[in-house]
Amino acid sequence: MNLLNLFNRSRSAPVARDRLQVLLAHERAFGGDADLAAVLEKEILEVIARHIPVDRDKVLVKLERGDHVSTLAIDIEMPETALARG
């Protein structure tokens, strides 16, 4: 096990190459629109804020980059009163 770890640790170059290939594919795609996640967050929140009060501190934005598919998750905590009001 230790020997295997040693072997794996020394062969870090393929990991570097793979990480870069995934990262750069995304950075090139969104190159002109560097902060896509921020733009989406802002616009989505604007739409929601029209209907319910949103506390900006209770909004969680997560961008997960994968090889083929990326996901953008926006968690918005709604106050108790928001749904009751509707």
Binding site: S10, R11, A13, P14, R17, L20, Q21, L24, E27, G31
Partner: protein, 271 residues
Amino acid sequence: MSKVMVVTSGKGGVGKTTSSAALGAALAQAGQNVVLVDFDVGLRNLDLILGAERRVVFDLVNVVQGDAKLPQALIRDKRVETLHLLPASQTRDKDALTAEGVERVIDELRERFDWIVCDSPAGIEKGATLAMRHADLAVVVANPEVSSVRDSDRIIGMLDSKTRRAEAGEKMEKHLLLTRYDAGRAARGEMMKVEDVLEILAIPLLGVVSESPDVLTASNLGFPVTLHNPAAPAARAYSVAAKKLLGEEVRAEPAAKRGLMSRLFGRRAAA
């Protein structure tokens, strides 16, 4: 016909200034009339690498702002008479450069020199964009390391969008110069190989400069490495790169009787 060449990288500390000095000196040693322009306003170092730090009177900012004439600011190298330096200012910042002023200076340099080698500052701000703005070709200096390769990719994107050539719809010629390479570590899988970096960045290879004590020795002494020790592997790599820039057919050096790894990587490092 003069050529404006920017030496750039995005990331700092990868060897832009060392490479600018070595490539510029190698071009001058090949008989070309060369000027090295230091765009790193506020943090000039090309003068030091060239051993001309005590001869700086006027600088790029003085010329851009019209306080000095170009010939007053140019410093001729004492060892290679076709090599010249236009130093950066040490006391100003990059905002002292204006797009119009830089354009005027580059146009004036084009009338006097075969090669105008622009040593870019690190980063992607004004200094770096002005250094690449008028380039006909670019040498992208990278180390086989993730942050350097990522920043190089960003710089390649800027070369293809923010330069005059790119804006005019013309092709921007780009070359990769991989520095601080260690063929042994690459063979053991500890460092990305030349091929890995080439595949990721997808621009043609100008040369591979191996990590070498000769480079530090030369800069300690104020010599471009091609002048200090022309036989050193790093110096040979830069000289071959300069020949490629001049459009010469460069053949791989004849294979000596060496080990397989040394044959595979050592030769490439020199080529």
